[in-house]
Subunit: 349 residues, 4 copies
């Protein structure tokens, strides 16, 4: 019973098969191969628009590179205080952007609002003594298992676009957000004003694969240089292209996400029936965050179940001394029986 993260699970069999299939014969290197080219075309089809897509191997690289296209070193990016770019990537955004400031705003539920961003921007009244605000980054699905709706994204874009700022979406769990919302990928991105997306695949069934997807094509100019310079241009690039094509083919990416999301709903539904457990935020993607008794936490861990406790700061209070805030992540590959057995384990405490 492993709910520690979606990245503790392996690679979806169809993607693994695609790697084997891609192995025959020779292919041009450094992105010149057919599979890489087709993956960009396929992404354009999935999003329903003209776009530029660049394949990389990690979400941290996808985020850092994305941000480097929208802010110089003297700029600032505003995001949620628990965003991956703010607290989970060492100083990677600073490294990729050449020193930009990542300004994390604290708010319950994992989501920031235009009014929060507007208030922050109003504080930038001293010209070059402050950094120059260059963008906002929204994580969707959020770090806390909630999602931004297209309307919420649109509202943020409506605030910042007139100010010349760009909108980035960290989509490490983008598939889970799309699946959870029941919208199209286009509705959640370019139709709502997203300029550049970190399109995640690793957590949702790929081996090591993310794409930086530009809807604002001007931002993509020179991006090939940025990727190369950061050591993210893969020589045998066909193995990234193959993963992406298999991931998108026949909607595998959304099938995987729907399955993980459904397991999260199943787990949440079960947990909500336990008196001693509270689920403070809506469960809108593939993660369930719960406040549980410490004694239960200890018992579950002792039984071999795997999951992490979470910073209670994100709760904004409402947790007792004998309670602990924990996270359960569901994956496309999590056995349904594991969820059922886990709920039984809790009930039989």
């Amino acid at each position: 019973m492993n709910f520690a993260s979606d990245n503790v699970y392996g690679v979806h069999q169809q993607i693994l098969d695609a790697l084997s299939k891609a192995n025959a014969a020779t292919a041009p290197s450094y992105g010149g191969d057919d599979l890489t080219k087709k993956s960009e075309e396929k992404l354009a089809e999935v999003f329903g628009c003209d776009l530029r897509a660049f394949l990389v191997t990690t979400g941290t690289a996808a985020n850092g590179l994305s941000l480097s296209a929208i802010t110089p070193g003297y700029g600032a990016i505003i995001c949620h205080g628990e965003a991956h770019i703010a607290v989970d990537e060492c100083n990677s955004p600073e490294h990729f952007t050449g020193g930009a400031k990542i300004i994390g705003l604290h708010a319950p539920g994992g989501k920031i609002t235009p009014s929060m961003v507007e208030k922050t921007l109003k504080g930038f009244i001293r010209g070059e003594h402050d950094p120059k605000p260059k963008g906002v980054s929204l994580t969707n699905a959020t770090e806390i298992g909630t999602v931004y709706t297209p309307d919420e994204v649109k509202a943020m874009s409506g605030l910042i676009r007139p100010r010349g700022m760009k909108l980035h979406m960290d989509g490490a769990r983008f598939a889970n957000a799309v699946a959870g919302l029941g919208v199209t990928p286009g509705e959640l991105t370019w139709k709502s004003g997203v300029d550049v997306l970190s399109f995640g695949a690793t957590k949702n069934g790929a081996m090591m694969l993310e794409a930086v997807v530009f809807f604002d094509l001007a931002l993509a100019e020179d991006f090939a240089y940025r990727r190369m310079r950061s050591g993210q241009l893969i020589s045998k690039s066909r193995y990234l292209g193959a993963q992406m094509l298999a991931y998108l083919d026949n909607g595998l990416w959304l099938d995987n996400a729907r399955r993980a999301n459904a397991l999260a709903q199943k787990l949440a539904t079960g947990l909500r029936q336990i008196n001693a457990i509270r689920i403070p935020n809506p469960v809108q993607a593939n993660e369930v965050f719960a406040i549980i008794p410490r004694s239960l936490n200890d018992r579950l861990l002792a039984s071999g179940a795997k999951f992490y406790d979470w910073m209670p700061d994100s709760l904004g209070g409402g947790i007792g001394e004998d309670e602990i805030f924990v996270r359960f992540v569901l994956s496309f590959a999590t056995p349904e029986a594991d969820v059922e057995n886990f709920l039984k384990l809790i009930a039989n405490g």
Copy 2:
């Protein structure tokens, strides 16, 4: 007939199989998995010493990260003028080191000598108006298909170590150098004074895999932070560990290199029998560089054979106007028949 590069070939079947085998069940992420841990142990066994090894996905990242451990932004790294870090990686070394200067020395045969480096160091007489020399990087096998012997490496180390400088080896084709020289990996590295090695696997049969191997363990302190910050810590790290174990297992890495080297010898032997062709440097690894008539070059390309022409600068003269300098790279996966057919194609011109 594809001699364009070793990275146009695919993944060795044993490595591909290892990926499938690694796919079962869950595993800790971000380097906490058993395969990653075992790969470090296996590298220690192969090199016959205590070491620290960090897996990354590209040679550019391996080089940039290695250099970042030996030079700050105000330092300088001395290397051959045609080294990958000097001319093939956009400004990646500058990016990873925070602005260090890469000083490329020009010399025929792809190799720099201690006396060349010493002369350069003697020019650094103006304190902080120059950068501070912090290291030397040797590419082995070189970009021109030659190799540094352990004695040559030792001589370089003997010059710079007393000056507090560190020795990096770019081993994108390290296996080919070891196989070509018939020495042990340890003899060519730590026993000869190498402090940190970019240990390449991608060109020689892996999918996307290099290791930064520290023999000077002090340099490895904080290196985990450097790798993370550059977006090179893979979440599903088991798939890097699996590649590395398969690559090293039963000496696959050296078998692959020996095969590629043997094909290079076969091709060189054949070419040398053609009157109009000259091979200016010794063929010591898996690359053959030749001066051929332009008419022949055009005919070979027209027939569908793939290979690149090379900067004649590295020749230091000796090439006619109707001649062209070309590179043939042999891979573990190059069909032997391709070499034979290629030689026939030339002979039957």
Copy 3:
């Protein structure tokens, strides 16, 4: 009546005279001149210890360069949330350090405590996913006109030194802190565990001059390269050396600071007698922060008096809607009559 900042005032006449005096004849450039050398010796005398001092032209450069000596790009520096390095220097600390994270802690009174830092450090439990904590920076006198005592500095050092972290002091108003506390420069720095000090002179009578002073001599290694690379090595360096010698000569620096501090006390004493005005923090250096009625604020500004309002966030509440938080800075050159007239202006409202 100008209380906007200490940097709106000019240069002390003795320092100006020293520049003229330094103008005769030729002198070695780039720090090789006698005045620069003597200024380092004089600083050693003033601090009563062996030290290394490097002259630069701005406090922002002094801070950025100081921090670059104690943290690499993957590190973190902890400071007060209103520290100059956190909110007043664009992204200069990030620029100089190559991307380190500046973590600002919020606390009333402008001062952070060891327990606050300890709590932050306890949150760094995830290895390289967080930056590596490398130092703490204390601003003394603080941005809010308070001071850290030697005991408070010592307590901070006691916490972080065993963890391998370094202690920086931003002393843009160091003279005011020393004068306000009545301690020796050595007691407030190296005797209390400070490793590197930004020793300010500009605000307190110099033209453009700060020194980076290393008490931890190992940190000074290679620092000449850092300064050069940032464009802070002045060719006609004698004009920095001359300023520093005049600033230190016969205790001019402390005389200036004492005068400014005394004016601050005089102003504070006067303000405290006004019913509608509150001074929330102790006045311990040359700045007075007060909560005043908005109507008074408007009247004073309309009368031509110059001063700035301040972020009320630093108050942590306690301010009414019809009130405003304002800052008055006193300089060595502020006419005493200006303080008296200002108080009269308020009283006669």
Copy 4:
């Protein structure tokens, strides 16, 4: 007799007086003062065009900041191999640009030509594996005492502007070039296609002062942030403005340059009459480079004269084993008698 550099001499009296005059009363800080504003207007008048000017304290900062406005970290700047940005500023250009590559071309006489640059650009055929060429930097007057004419500058601009590259001029000795050529400042810059100029004043009579002057106004956008972030925004900025106004007032800058140039001609004329001495390049500004016998060199140094020997590489041969290549720099403040006495000293050998 000091011919070591123009920066071993002091500050022109009129500039020193201007500093004293600027000292009265209070003034807005951080560039908000009248003197700074007027200096920008005065520069516009001197150059005869709309421009944006930013005052900084060193030539290294002026160059680094200028380059940061024309190249990102993945770009390249082409310049002469002996340019200050290539070999005299530690890794400052790399620091300011975030890692751009400075490509120095070797050529006798200190000057590069469009055909040399074009050949280099033709080598950039591999897309993102090379850096992206973003600009050319011309040093005028050059490091070897020669000058680029407006036509030569125009030819360079004609090559690179259609390619989207920008033209920087390092004018540390710009006044000497203008005076030597007898052209207007506008003719040598924006009328010939210069986009941004490092306008030097320190070597030619100021204390510490350079200006980054943008003729391409779009490049100046956000430049205030760049300057601030690098620690080059001076708080008491009036003292930079005062220097610049005095430097430009009544053509002091050109008078100073003409005097230094005339002394260089006088020295060169005298040296040319000595049989054993050769002056390989035209003397077009305030520097004289000569090949002299080593015995003479030793005798002159022993007599107390100050000057430096120079890298013979820049000669491209033509120097004997018993000869040495030396540099004599003349300043606005060099006593004419020193030149005369120096020539006598040589003649009386």
